[in-house]
Symmetry: C2
Subunit: 332 residues, 2 copies
């Protein structure tokens, strides 16, 4: 096994987020489940919802893409694989990720549909409710995988969201094989409860087959995966099947379990929760960067909490401050 | 003269801003003049500069468009006329302005060039340096003017930036005539010193001909227009030629002169200047809204200062808080 030239190579949705303020009444009126993600299957549905939205801010997003953006901001070396269309939003996504020094070579896809967008309604409590039009992103073909890049990443990071469409699912299965053959670690985030309700059996099999080294989940996802209501019991059921389990618990902090050792970290104190978009993605960024840098579990968790704290203190899921300086200040 | 159904109808560039952080060394290295606006004449130049830019945030912009966005956020009724292309950035611009309740009917232009974009580099001191690719915006034809809308606005507001390209200049001259015939007021912002160096004689003639009721300028623009180095002397030279002169002076506040009366307002105290993009635009929004609501000079100026203070406390030139609540709190 040669030394990996990249810390983390991620495969995920290539999305531009459109963020706007909304009140709780609007979320209820539109029949959305606050705090969750739902898919919009047609461009017409996406247009209709966009028309009801207030003035927006566009910021590159995508769960795994946010994570590698965070790692790059911390100084890590990353690659990203994801499908954009040959349009202006695709150019924005590609620009933003490349401008962070992240290798991104997936060729843009011609014709319809357009680049994925996620309409995100941010309520006064800072909670985000997401509505995603996957567009081109759901057509990432296995042929688009840069196998050399994957084999060259110490950790392959995959998002559960992308398990939903057929082509990327096949691509991710192939990517896991490439990473395994190259002796690399595979990290996976369960992304959202709806992913588990649709693909829980796939996820349980991947885990049981020992293909996942680092598993990220929040409380709801973990209990859904374990099919147990109690959080601690769910941890006890899943942890032994993976090398490292990381469970995030919003304002209650997070825990990591690895080789029988359990460590926990409180949430970082922040002045005001402005927008929780990307909290889990940036937690994963901090944790993975810590692991790639050889930090222990506790320090990796702390790094995750600091990154999540930064991201929820402003609008958008990509870091806006000098993350290296922030980490030096907070981590010591 | 019938009662106007709109408070302000504006004609301006229809631009999407791309904002990113940069340090002073970058501004110097690229030969930019910090705090100013420069035009990029080819899409290749725009692409080359974009490639050097860090990860961005996209927010609708355009000077006069920002102003009507501000007035709409304050509760005023506005219309906007400006040229976008038939592309994704054009859709974003149109969505954002319409979502504020602003009437915007200018048909999108097919084919190249694309919708205008402004690459804005924000330095650590919060100062913004702008690089604009005018794209479709410079092709606003006189035929696109909605003359009924213009005649239905109590104030027609024009930006000096748009005086540069030929077609919009002709359109604005026609619009002034429509507004005058309908007995409406005409407000004009000088926008930038480069506009005066190119079109100062036009501006001086418009003013001397009594076509401008409300003139907005910052210190540099006013002295350039008056061709006098001293600010007070420039005010004394220009003020008698317009009904109302509003001169903004950054952290020194602003003054207004009307019918021989001079009033001034200090800058609003704010915690931290994050991004000065849109400060002048939102000052104009507050002042014009005050005037449209029948407030006196001093109160209109104060409203301008509060709006400018809000906009420089965050990234982007469109209001992000509940402006009506802010005004109630600050103006009493």
């Amino acid at each position: 096994m040669t030394t990996a030239r990249y810390d983390v190579v991620a495969i995920g949705n290539a999305i531009v987020d459109v963020l706007a303020q909304a009140d709780d009444a609007f979320i209820a009126q539109e029949g959305m489940t606050k705090g969750s993600m739902q898919l919009m299957f047609s461009p017409e549905d996406a247009d209709a919802l966009y028309a009801k939205m207030g003035p927006g801010q566009e910021v590159s997003g995508g769960s795994a893409a946010n994570t590698v953006a965070g790692i790059a901001a911390l100084g890590g070396k990353c690659g990203f694989i994801g499908q954009v269309a040959d349009d202006e939003l695709g150019e924005i996504f590609a620009h933003d990720i490349r401008s962070l020094g992240i290798r991104f070579d997936t060729a843009a896809r011609s014709g319809d549909p357009s680049t994925a967008r996620c309409l995100i309604f941010v309520t006064p409590d800072g909670q985000r409710t997401m509505n995603t039009f996957l567009g081109a992103s759901q057509f990432l073909p296995e042929a688009a995988l840069d196998r050399e890049l994957i084999a060259d990443g110490a950790i392959l990071y995959l998002e559960g969201y992308l398990w939903d469409p057929e082509e990327p699912r096949a691509a991710m299965r192939a990517a896991i094989e490439v990473a395994r053959k190259a002796g690399r670690k595979v990290a996976f985030t369960l992304s959202d409860v709806f992913c588990i309700s649709r693909h829980g059996d796939d996820f349980r099999r991947l885990i049981a087959d020992g293909l996942i080294d680092i598993l990220f989940a929040n409380e709801n996802e973990l209990t859904a995966l374990a099919r147990i209501d109690d959080f601690d019991a769910a941890v006890a059921g899943i942890a032994p099947q993976v090398t490292t389990l990381v469970a995030t618990r919003s304002e209650k902090g997070a825990i990591a379990v690895s080789h029988g050792e359990t460590v926990s970290v409180p949430a970082e104190p922040i002045e005001r929760v402005v927008d929780t978009t990307g909290a889990g993605d940036l937690f994963a960024a901090g944790f993975l960067h810590g692991q790639a840098q050889g930090m222990n579990l506790a320090k990796s968790l702390k790094l995750g909490a600091i990154c999540a704290g930064e991201i929820i203190s402003h609008v958008g899921a990509r870091p806006q401050c000098d993350m290296k300086a922030l980490i030096t200040e907070r981590l010591g």
